[in-house]
C-alpha cells in the first residue's frame, strides 16, 4: 500500500514536471517531421545546433567503405541547405567521418575527425580549416584506435572529448594541441559500443557521459545495456569519481544527450530499439518515444533508424540518424521532433578555441576596423563639405 501511494505520488510529481499540454497551433509533443535528407556520402551521426540557430551536419563513416572525403553541411533552422564544406586532409584509405561537436568563441565549428583522429576548426566565413587537437592511439590488447566522438567545452576553455573506441575522455588544453587522457575508468570500457554522448551540466563542472555498453568493464554489469555516467571536473581540473545516473535497457546503445531546462535528459538510442529515452533528473526513466521499441515508427515518412544524436533548437529536438546497419540513404536524415520544452543553452566559454595570441589578433582587427570607420567618417565629412561648397 505504501508502495502504491509512493508510486501515485511519483506519478503526480512526474505529471507536474511534464511539459504543459501544447497550446492551440503548437505542435504536439513528439510530432516528428523530416527536416532534411542528408545527401551522399550520408551517414549523418551528429546534428549540431549552433548558437546562431543553424544546424551543422557532418557526414560520418560508411561501414561499407567509400573513398570520398567527408563533408559538413549547413542548414537553416527550417531545414534549407545553405552551404557545405569538404573536410581536408582525411585518410580516405581508412574508415573516415566527421562529427560537428561544437563551435568556438569565434563561431568556428569544431569537427571531430576519425581518420586521422583530430579536432579541426572550420571557419564557415572563409572555409579555412586548421587542426586544433590530435588524439593518440592508446595501445591496448583489443587494438582499438582513437575515435573522437563528442566534445564539450569546460569552463576554462578546455575541450573534453569522448573516444568511442578507446573508452576514455580526452582533455584538450585551452588553445588546442595534443589531447591528454583526462578520464580512464573501467565503466567506460565498452568494447564495440563505447563512450559517446557528452554534455556539460548547468553547474558547469559535471560532465554527463553516454556509454554504449559496458561489456569490457569490471563492474559486472550487463554488457547489453548502456549507461549514463557522471564525472565532475574538480577544482584542480582532475576528474572526480564516476557515478551512474541511469542504466539503459538491452540493445539501447545510448548515444547523443540533450539536457532540458526542466532537468530532464533526452537520450538518443542508436541501438536496434531505435528510440529516444527521457529521464527524470533523478535518473529514473520517464518516457520513451516511440513507445514501442524496434519499430522506429515516429509518425513521419522516415522512421527512426540508428538514432544517433539529439540537440535542442527551441522546443524542438534536432535528431540525426545514420541508418548505420541498413545503410538506407532514404533514412539518413535530420529529423525534427517536437519536445514541447526548451533545452539548456550550450556553454561556450569566451576563450573557447582561441589559440594564444588569437585574442590579440582579434583586438587588433577590432582596432583596425575602428580606424577604418573613423577614416570613412572623415572621408564622408570632407565629401559632404565639398558638395556643400559646390552648391
Amino acid at each position: 500500500m505504501r508502495r502504491a501511494l509512493a508510486a501515485a505520488a511519483a506519478l503526480a510529481a512526474l505529471a507536474a514536471l511534464a511539459p504543459a499540454a501544447s497550446a492551440a497551433g503548437q505542435r504536439p509533443r513528439w510530432d516528428t517531421r523530416v527536416l532534411a535528407l542528408v545527401p551522399p556520402p550520408g551517414f549523418p551521426a551528429r546534428a549540431y545546433v549552433a548558437p546562431n540557430g543553424r544546424i551543422y551536419e557532418g557526414t560520418y563513416e560508411n561501414p561499407a567503405g567509400d573513398s570520398v572525403p567527408s563533408r559538413v553541411l549547413e542548414y537553416s533552422g527550417d531545414g534549407t541547405l545553405l552551404r557545405s564544406w569538404t573536410v581536408e586532409g582525411q585518410d580516405l584509405s581508412q574508415g573516415h567521418g566527421v562529427q560537428v561537436a561544437t563551435s568556438d568563441a569565434l563561431g568556428r565549428l569544431v569537427l571531430l575527425d576519425k581518420a586521422p583522429a583530430r579536432a579541426i576548426l572550420l571557419d564557415t566565413r572563409t572555409g579555412a580549416q586548421s587542426t586544433y587537437a590530435t588524439f593518440a592511439d592508446i595501445p591496448d590488447l583489443l587494438g582499438n584506435t582513437p575515435e573522437p566522438d563528442y566534445g564539450v567545452w569546460g569552463p576554462d576553455g578546455s575541450l573534453y572529448v569522448s573516444d568511442y573506441q578507446q573508452g576514455v575522455i580526452w582533455r584538450v588544453p585551452p588553445g588546442g594541441g595534443a589531447a591528454q587522457v583526462w578520464l580512464d575508468d573501467p565503466l567506460l570500457k565498452g568494447g564495440m559500443f563505447g563512450t559517446a554522448g557528452l554534455v556539460l551540466e548547468p553547474d558547469l563542472r559535471t560532465l554527463l557521459i553516454a556509454q554504449g555498453s559496458e561489456s569490457g568493464g569490471t563492474g559486472g554489469g550487463d554488457p547489453t545495456t548502456g549507461r549514463l555516467l557522471r564525472a565532475q571536473i574538480q577544482p584542480d581540473g582532475k576528474p572526480g569519481p564516476v557515478t551512474q545516473l541511469w542504466e539503459s535497457r538491452p540493445a539501447d546503445a545510448p548515444d547523443g544527450i540533450a539536457l532540458a531546462r526542466s532537468g530532464r535528459v533526452y537520450v538518443a538510442l542508436v541501438g536496434p530499439t531505435n528510440q529516444i529515452a527521457v529521464l527524470n533528473p533523478d535518473g529514473s526513466e520517464a518516457e520513451r518515444f516511440p513507445q514501442t521499441p524496434f519499430t522506429g515508427d515516429n509518425g513521419s515518412s522516415v522512421p527512426f533508424d540508428s538514432v544517433s544524436s539529439v540537440m535542442f533548437l527551441g522546443t524542438r529536438l534536432i535528431v540525426a540518424q545514420q541508418s548505420y546497419e541498413l545503410g538506407d540513404a532514404a533514412h539518413q536524415a535530420i529529423l525534427d521532433v517536437e519536445a514541447g520544452e526548451e533545452g539548456v543553452p550550450e556553454y561556450i566559454p569566451p576563450n573557447a578555441g582561441l589559440r594564444p595570441g588569437e585574442q590579440v589578433v582579434k583586438a587588433a582587427r577590432a582596432k583596425s576596423r575602428k580606424r577604418a570607420k573613423a577614416k570613412h567618417r572623415r572621408h564622408h565629412r570632407r565629401h559632404h563639405a565639398r558638395r556643400h561648397r559646390h552648391r
Binding site: V34, L35, A36, L37, P39, P40, P41, N52, D66, S67, V68, P69, R71, L73, Y75, S76, G79, T80, L81, L82, R83, S84, T86, G107, T124, R125, T126, G127, A329, A330, S368, R369, A372, H376, H380, H383
Partner: protein, 504 residues
C-alpha cells in the same frame, strides 16, 4: 541592338498596361527612361556607399538584397538592364494580360520560390493540363494522357522499354550525386568524363529513342546531349527536388506534379517587380557593372552610373556574364576558368497568340513533344481567364541555332507550320507571334541555364559558390536545388545574403 530597344519599349508598354509600372520604383524607372533616351551616356559617375552591393536584379540579386535590407543593413543593387527580373520577363498581350518570354513555371518542392510568391502577395494557378498531350515522331502524330506512367514523356511503344529503363537508371545514379558537391560523387570521375550522348548510346539501342533524348535536353538545358557532361545531367536530376524529396527526372520534366505544374498570376516577372518596389531606390537600373576591386577591407564596384563602395559584393548574374567583369586583383585562376567554361544554353522561346485556346476544344491541353522540326515541346501559356489563347514552344540547342539563322518571317512560318502539325491548321493564323532569342540578349547571353560540358565540374565545380574574399556568388547556377530555375535563384540569393550577413 534593335531587338533590345523593341524589348524595352514592349516591356514599358506592358508594364503600363498591366499596372506593373506602379510596381517599379518610380525614381528608378524615371532614371532608366532618362538614361534610355539620352543621346550619349552620362559621364558623371556618382558615388554611393552601402554595406552590401548586389550585381544583378534578377531573382537571385533581388532576393539577396531584400534579405540584407530586412536584416537592417544597407544595400544597393546595380542592374545592367532598364528592368528587373533577369530571365523572367513579361510580355504584354493587351487587355491587361501577359505572357512570359522567359521563366514561366513553378512546381512542387520549389519551396523557396513558392514562399517568395506568397511573401510578395502574388499567387499561382495551375498550368492548363486537362486533356491529351500530343506527340509527333517521324511524321506520325498521336495523343496521350500525361496521367500515365511516363508522365509528360510520350508513351511511344517503340521507345517505351528503353525510356523507362534509362529514366530509372538516371534517377538511380543521381541519388549518389550530392547536390552540394556533385564533383564528389563516388563515380564523378567516370561520369564527368563522358557526355549524356555517349552514355545514352552505350545504354540504349533504339535510334528512335535516341532521337527523343534531345527533345528533353533542348527545353531543359538549351543544349544537345553531346554538349552535356553526364555528371552535370545527373546533378540536375538530383537537384530537381528539395531537402526532403530527392530529385527525379520526372519531377523535372513533368507538368502534373512536376516543375511545370503551376504558373504565376500576372506573369513571373510580377514577383520581381514587387521585390524591386520593396527595395525602392536601392535598385539602380541601366547601370552595367564593369569593374570590381577589393582592398583595404572594402570592395569598390564601378558601374556606368554609380561607383559603389561596400563591405561585400554579391555577384548575382550568370557565370559567363560574371566572367566579363574586370576584377582587381584578378580572381583565382580556378574561378576564372569556371566562368570561362560555364556557357549559357541556347534557347529561344516562340509564342503564338490566338483569340481563344482552340486546342482545348479538341480535347488537347497544349502540351506537345515533337522530334520533327524546330519546336521540341509546347505548352499552353494562356492567362488564367483562357483569353487570349497562347501557345509557346521551346526551340533549343541545334534547333535554336537553326532558327536564329533564319529570317524572322521564315522562322515564324516554320514554327507556325509545326504548331499546325501539332494542333491543327488554326494554329497557322495567330493574332500575334513573338519570339525571344535569349542567346542574343546582351545581359543574359543564353537560356535557361549555364551548362557544363565534360570535365568542368570535376576540375572547377568547387569554386561555384566559394567566396573570393569579399565577393560572394549568387544566381541560379550556384544553387544546390532547382539549379536553373527561379527557385534556385531565390535559394542562391538567400544563401549569399546569409554569407554576407555572417561576415558583417
Amino acid at each position: 541592338m534593335d531587338d533590345n530597344r523593341i524589348d524595352r519599349r514592349r516591356f514599358v508598354a506592358g508594364a503600363l498596361a498591366t499596372g506593373a509600372a506602379a510596381a517599379l520604383p518610380s525614381s528608378a524607372q524615371a532614371r532608366a527612361k532618362h538614361h534610355a533616351k539620352a543621346k550619349k551616356p552620362t559621364k558623371r559617375i556618382r558615388k554611393r556607399t552601402a554595406d552590401v552591393v548586389v550585381v544583378g536584379a534578377g531573382f537571385a540579386g533581388l532576393t539577396a538584397a531584400r534579405r540584407v535590407m530586412q536584416a537592417g543593413r544597407s544595400v544597393i543593387v546595380l542592374e545592367a538592364r532598364d528592368r528587373v527580373g533577369g530571365r523572367a520577363l513579361n510580355h504584354d498581350l493587351g487587355g491587361g494580360q501577359v505572357s512570359e518570354t522567359g521563366a514561366t513555371f513553378v512546381g512542387p518542392t520549389q519551396d523557396r520560390m513558392l514562399a517568395l510568391i506568397q511573401e510578395m502577395g502574388a499567387s499561382t494557378f495551375p498550368t492548363f493540363d486537362d486533356g491529351q498531350n500530343v506527340y509527333v515522331a517521324q511524321g506520325q502524330r498521336q495523343t496521350y494522357s500525361d496521367t500515365g506512367p511516363t508522365g509528360t514523356a510520350p508513351p511511344d511503344p517503340l521507345v517505351l522499354p528503353e525510356l523507362t529503363e534509362v529514366v530509372a537508371q538516371l534517377d538511380q545514379m543521381s541519388t549518389t550525386v550530392p547536390v552540394d558537391a556533385p564533383w564528389q560523387a563516388s563515380s564523378a570521375g567516370d561520369w564527368d568524363g563522358q557526355t549524356l550522348e555517349t552514355w545514352i548510346k552505350a545504354n540504349s539501342t533504339s535510334q528512335r529513342f535516341q532521337a527523343l533524348v534531345p527533345m528533353a535536353t533542348r527545353p531543359i538545358f538549351g543544349a544537345e546531349p553531346r554538349e552535356l557532361s553526364l555528371l552535370f545531367v545527373l546533378f540536375y536530376i538530383a537537384a530537381s527536388g528539395d531537402e526532403k524529396n530527392p530529385g527525379t527526372f520526372e519531377r523535372n520534366f513533368d507538368t502534373r506534379a512536376g516543375a511545370q505544374q503551376d504558373r504565376i498570376v500576372g506573369g513571373s516577372q510580377i514577383v520581381a517587380l514587387k521585390m524591386a518596389q520593396d527595395l525602392g531606390r536601392r535598385v539602380v537600373l541601366a547601370s552595367p557593372v564593369r569593374r570590381i576591386a577589393q582592398g583595404a577591407g572594402r570592395v569598390r564596384v564601378d558601374s556606368d552610373r554609380y561607383t559603389v563602395h561596400a563591405k561585400h559584393a554579391i555577384v548575382a548574374i550568370p557565370p559567363t556574364l560574371a566572367g566579363r567583369i574586370d576584377y582587381s586583383p584578378i580572381l583565382p585562376a580556378e574561378r576564372d576558368q569556371l566562368m570561362q567554361r560555364l556557357g549559357q544554353g541556347s534557347l529561344t522561346k516562340v509564342a503564338a497568340v490566338y483569340p481563344t485556346p482552340f486546342w482545348r476544344e479538341q480535347g488537347l491541353n497544349g502540351t506537345a513533344v515533337s522530334t520533327d522540326g524546330l519546336v521540341s515541346a509546347t505548352f499552353d501559356d494562356s492567362p488564367p481567364s483562357g483569353k487570349p489563347g497562347v501557345l509557346f514552344g521551346f526551340v533549343g540547342g541545334d534547333s535554336a541555332r537553326a532558327y536564329n539563322a533564319m529570317s524572322p518571317s521564315d522562322g515564324r512560318d516554320a514554327v507556325l507550320g509545326e504548331f499546325a502539325t501539332l494542333f491543327g491548321d488554326q494554329a497557322k493564323s495567330p493574332t500575334a507571334y513573338f519570339d525571344t532569342r535569349w542567346t542574343g540578349e546582351q545581359w543574359t547571353r543564353g537560356c535557361p541555364v549555364a551548362i557544363a560540358g565534360p570535365g568542368t565540374l570535376l576540375a572547377y565545380g568547387p569554386w561555384i559558390r566559394r567566396p573570393i574574399d569579399r565577393i560572394h556568388w549568387a544566381g541560379t547556377e550556384t544553387s544546390t536545388y532547382w539549379n536553373g530555375y527561379m527557385d534556385g535563384a531565390v535559394r542562391s540569393g538567400e544563401r549569399a545574403a546569409q554569407e554576407v550577413l555572417d561576415a558583417l
